[in-house]
Structures are given as structure tokens and as C-alpha cells.
Amino acid sequence: MSKAIKHISSTVVPLQLENVDTDQIIPARFLKATNRDGFGKNLFRDWRYENDSDDQPRKDFVLNNPTYKGSILVAGRNFGCGSSREHAAWALKDAGFDVVVSSFFADIFKNNSLNNFLLPVTVSPDFLAQIFSAVEADATSVIEVDLPAQTITIKATGVTESFEINSYKKTCLLNGYDDIDYLLSMKSEIETFENSVTR
């Protein structure tokens, strides 16, 4: 399975809340695994379920609403703040998301997402509001993310915005490369650097 991301076209799951922290995305009590798999079932655990048994989903939470589905999560500003737990990115990816759209992302979450081929797309507050309106009007509204062109489009209205991503990370995402491979290829330069400084 290729990890690479190029074009994503999907309906969206709207989470119209600001400051969604990583403790909500994946509560600490689910961080006890020693592998990277299976975190999706506990994604937004305490907002999704009344308790730790799976039989009482909270009907008022968007992930339990069958009207909304897709591989793009759209959320309010400052998404992913708080703890550095990469498990948040693993949980979102495991639950089937490839893109998260917000007007503002917390730093560590953004890095973690990029390292897991979960694309964080930062849009203007106005564009974010337009996505929420479009989805509210019609839950089947499709959003198209074009990574090579660095654009995001609301299909129903045709409104497009471009988004930023550094060219190094873009290349990684388009080709399925990861940072570790890159850094490992630099081993001798790193050793030269170490020898050049006394510490």
C-alpha cells in the first residue's frame, strides 16, 4: 500500500469546535499500546461514547451521525493543541482520515500528521466558514484537495483557495518518502558536523 498522497476528493466530517486538544482526539488512557495500530476505535473516545463500553454512542457527536462521512475532517481553529502524542495522528489515520482542514493547527500535531501522511490543510477563517456552511446546507458536499497544485476546492460552489506546505514535505507526501530515510542518508554529514564542534 502506497502511503503517498496526491488528490483527495471526499465528503467531510464537520467538527465545528475550536481548540480541539489531543487529549480529546485520543485520551491518555488509550496510549498504553506499544505498536502504532488500532487507535482509530478510540478516536474522540469521550465525545463518541458515554463510557468505555462501545454500546452507548453519544448521538449528538458528529462521528456517530451517519449523515457525515468521508476521509476529510474539518475542524475549528487551533486543532491538535496540547500533548505531543503522535497517537492523535495515528488515530485519525486509522479511522480513515487522510486530510484535516482547519484555519490553524498546533505545531507538534502538524508535524506528527505530516510524518504519518495525514495532510493538514490550513485555510483562511472565511474559507473554513464556507466549508461549514456548504456541509450544513448539503451533507454530501464534496471537498477536493489537490496537493500538487496546493489547492482546496468546495465542489458545489467552485470556490478555491490555495494552501501552503514546504516543498520538502510536499515531495515527501507525493512520493511516500519519510524523514528518517532522508536523515539516515545524511549520516556521514552528521558525523562530520559532530566532529566539527567540541561539546
Binding site: L31, E86, D107
Partner: protein, 473 residues
């Protein structure tokens, strides 16, 4: 050209800068713990490689360890498996581990500084967002994810984009009863939980210079709660005298050499910052949070904002937050009943914190229906507290002095606050469910928490000290 403190440290750690991309940044020290490292070790093992520079890593078990009976096997199976995996991984890769039972064990951000592993001018990372704590020594220190933990294990480097720079200046003298926790809660309340996202923040000014190392660590610790990549304070005599003689601090000739270098680590007079904030120390009150992010803070004497004081886009979150906390808009928090008091976490579990608490509660007893947990940041802090007789003061007060760990800051072990209960906590996060499912957290200073432990309600520590002085006179 004039440089900032951050730039001086950053520039000497750049191995290479990729065109149109990040820099390859060399990392001097890497702290690891049981929760965010296992997948990184697995990654190395899958690639068939060993840790590149094991001598630059220090490991401890802190996040999910019990705080009672640490000499017994960990009861909770998954926690035990994680701690066992850490022991095995460290042994296989030759990494020094200060695990349970070791006299140096403790919260990773408490032990690094107290052992002198943390030093000025370094780049320091850990798979934990509160790594910003170490910036108090004039280091670039930041939290990373597990993939990045693996990168540092594999190559001692990370790919990082240079953040923007902010300086927060705090000038003047603090009011009595106001401590460093109040300073940082005040800053976050002013600039919001995302106010410094994308920035490295340098704290400066006479009020910062006057603080002890431990108080500075409390401020840098919560840099992440304003979204900052890291927080840092220029090293000075306070820093140097704290470090001198510490286990892993340089000694002899190496100390003199290091000191000469450390003295060059400050922001030059004309260095440029992307943003600068000025705060008068005298304007800072004892603080408390009312909501579910650390930016939702007010003076202990203040009221929860009214709905119309909140920007429209944030109102939904504000109302959700108050519903979770069981509070009303416009309500005063002072006098609110408290069920639990938690004194601990990488923010406020050091010896000075415990001394402050002891000074407030000496000879007094906790309110009858309040449960009070004091969780020291490390075995060394615990031993020091006992040596000073603080344990007796806590015992008389009816407080439980437990064993070191992250404990009820994030409730990964048994130390959870029950649903619906109010906890005044010296930790760093008041997120929904952070201290246990349904738990309601008021973040505050050790002084404010200690006063609440005695009165059983949220108390203005300034009034309280004053009235107790009269009684004692």
C-alpha cells in the same frame, strides 16, 4: 549582526538547511519515557539499526507509574508492559534508564535539570510537549512526536523549520502571594491557548531575572499551553549557581570553559523579534482557570466572563466548556467547593513548590471532605522533602505524600479524579477528561492549591495569608 538568544543556539546546531524546506537540526540531549518511545524502538528494530548516540539519551519511567507501593510489580497490565518494554529497549540499545526503584527516577522534566543533564546552549527534545521546561536554562527544548523520537534515536537529528520569535517582558515586582505559575497563567489568559503558536518565546525582564531556576522552569514548562514551540530564558548567575556541582554538569576546567560560553548566551541589545509583549508584574493576580483550556484563566477574585465578552466563533466552545465544568457565565469561582487537591506534575512538583505548600499548611489540617495528594517530581525531591521534615507537616495536615510520577496530571495511572468532582491542581492542563473522565480541573499555583486544601474552597491566597498572620500575631 545582532542575534537573539534563540538564534545563537539554533545557528550552532544547524547541520544543513534544505532548499525551500526545513533545517537538519542536531540534538544534544534526548529524554525518553515509557509511553512515547516503544514504537520508535520498534521502528529502529524493523530497520535493523541501533540507537546512534545512546550516551546522549536519558530514560525514565514516569507517565503511567503508580505513586503508591512502587517496590511492588505494577498492577495495571498495560502500564507494566510499557514499563517492561522500556527496560528491555534501553538494555538492548545501551541507553541509561532511571527506572522505578532508582534514586534518580522521576518526571522526565524534573530529573533532567536536577541531574545537570540539562545545560545552557543545548538543543533538547523529548516525546512530551512539556519539554519546553528545559528552556529555563537557556536551551532550545521542545516536544516531539514518536516518529521524531525515532529520527533522533537513528541520527541524533531532526528536520525543523525555524519558528518566529517572540519576547515576553515582565518588569517590576510581583504582589505577595503571586508566584511564577500565576505569571504564566496570566500570560496565557492574555494571549490565549494559541497566542504563541509558531513562535519560540523568550521570557525576559526584571521579574523573570528575579525568579529562581525552579520558578523559571514552571513558566517555560507552560509555553506549550500558549502554543509556543519552545520557551527560553537567558542563563545568568542564578542558572550557573543552580548547575554547579550537579551530577552531570561539567566540573573543573570543563566548568570554566562551559561558563565562558554560557555567558555569551543572551539576546543582543538590538536583536529583532517578530513580536514583543510587555507585562507589568504588579498587574498579575493569583490566577485560576475556569474552563477547559489553559487560556481560560482569571484572577482568583474575578468572575467567569459573560457570553457576550467571548468572540462569536468561540462561543460554542465556551458554552461546552462551562457545561463540562458545571459553571455559569459571570459566576465567581472564589468560595467554590473543592473535592481534590493535586500538587504535582512537571509544572509544580519540585522542592520549592513543596516548601511553599508546607509553609502555608504548617500546623493546620485539611478540610474534612477534601482529598489531598502531593506527588513529588522525583525520588530526589521526595528524599529532600523528608530530610527537611516536610513529610511530617503534610502528614499532620492529612495530606498524602506519594511517590514520583506524572500521576493525576493526566491520569494514566490509578490517580484519577472521579467524574464531576472538582480538583484544584498545580498541573498544566484543564482539558476535558485530562485528570479522569468527567473530572473538573482548576489550574492554580501551589500556594492557591494549598490554601484550598485547608479551607476546602477556592481561596484568594493573598487574603488568606493576611488573615492568618492576624490570627498568629
Amino acid at each position: 549582526m545582532a542575534q537573539t538568544l534563540f538564534e545563537k543556539i539554533w545557528n550552532r546546531h544547524v547541520v544543513k538547511t534544505i532548499d525551500g524546506g526545513p533545517s537538519v537540526l542536531y540534538i544534544d540531549r534526548h529524554f525518553i519515557h515509557e509511553v512515547t518511545s516503544p514504537q520508535a524502538f520498534t521502528g529502529l528494530n524493523k530497520r535493523g539499526i541501533k540507537v546512534f548516540r545512546p550516551a546522549q539519551i536519558v530514560a525514565t519511567a514516569d507517565h503511567n507509574v503508580p505513586t503508591l507501593n512502587q517496590h511492588l510489580p505494577i498492577k495495571e497490565e498495560l502500564s507494566r508492559l510499557q514499563v517492561d518494554a522500556l527496560i528491555k529497549n534501553c538494555a538492548e540499545h545501551g541507553v541509561e534508564l532511571y527506572g522505578l526503584g532508582h534514586p534518580y527516577q522521576g518526571i522526565v522534566h524534573v530529573i533532567g535539570p536536577e541531574l545537570g543533564v540539562t545545560q545552557p546552549g543545548m538543543t533538547i527534545v523529548c516525546g512530551d510537549s512539556h519539554t519546553s521546561t528545559h528552556g529555563a536554562f537557556g536551551a532550545i527544548a521542545f516536544g516531539i512526536g514518536t516518529s521524531e523520537v525515532e529520527m533522533v534515536m537513528a541520527t541524533q537529528c531532526l528536520l525543523q523549520s525555524k519558528p518566529k520569535l517572540m519576547r515576553i517582558n515582565i518588569e517590576g515586582q510581583l504582589k505577595p502571594g503571586v508566584v511564577s505559575k500565576d505569571i504564566v497563567l496570566h500570560i496565557i489568559a492574555q494571549i490565549s491557548a494559541s497566542g504563541a503558536t509558531g513562535f519560540a518565546v523568550e521570557y525576559a525582564g526584571s521579574a523573570i531575572r528575579a525568579l529562581s531556576m525552579e520558578a523559571r522552569m514552571t513558566i517555560c514548562n507552560m509555553s506549550i499551553e500558549m502554543g509556543a514551540r519552545c520557551g527560553l530564558i537567558a542563563p545568568d548567575e542564578t542558572t550557573f549557581s543552580y548547575l554547579k556541582g550537579k551530577e552531570f554538569a561539567p566540573a573543573g576546567e570543563a566548568w570554566d570553559k562551559a561558563l565562558t560560553d554560557w555567558k555569551t548566551l543572551f539576546s543582543d541589545k538590538d536583536a529583532a523579534f517578530d513580536e514583543e509583549i510587555f507585562i507589568k508584574a504588579a498587574d498579575i493576580e493569583p490566577m485560576i482557570t475556569y474552563g477547559t483550556n489553559p487560556g481560560m484563566g482569571i484572577s482568583v477574585n474575578g468572575a467567569v466572563p459573560a457570553l457576550n465578552e467571548i468572540p462569536v466563533s468561540e462561543q460554542k466552545g465556551f458554552e461546552k466548556s462551562l457545561a463540562y465544568m458545571g459553571l455559569e457565565a459571570g459566576e465567581h469561582i472564589k468560595g467554590k467547593k473543592v473535592d481534590y487537591v493535586f500538587i504535582g506534575s512537571c509544572t509544580n512538583s519540585r522542592i520549592e513548590d513543596l516548601r511553599q505548600v508546607a509553609a502555608i499548611v504548617k500546623g493546620k489540617q485539611k478540610a474534612a471532605d477534601v482529598e489531598v495528594w502531593i506527588v513529588p517530581g522525583s525520588k530526589q525531591v521526595e528524599a529532600q522533602a523528608r530530610a527537611e521534615g516536610l513529610d511530617k507537616i503534610f502528614e499532620t495536615a492529612g495530606f498524602q505524600l506519594r511517590q514520583p510520577g506524572c500521576s493525576a496530571c493526566l491520569g494514566m495511572n490509578e490517580d484519577k479524579i472521579p467524574a464531576g468532582k472538582y480538583c484544584i491542581s498545580t498541573s498544566n492542563r484543564n482539558f476535558e477528561g485530562r485528570q479522569g473522565q468527567g473530572a473538573r480541573t482548576f489550574l492554580a499555583s501551589p500556594l492557591t492549591a494549598a490554601a484550598a486544601a485547608i479551607t476546602g474552597v477556592v481561596t484568594d491566597v493573598h487574603d488568606w495569608i493576611h488573615s492568618n498572620e492576624e490570627v498568629n500575631a
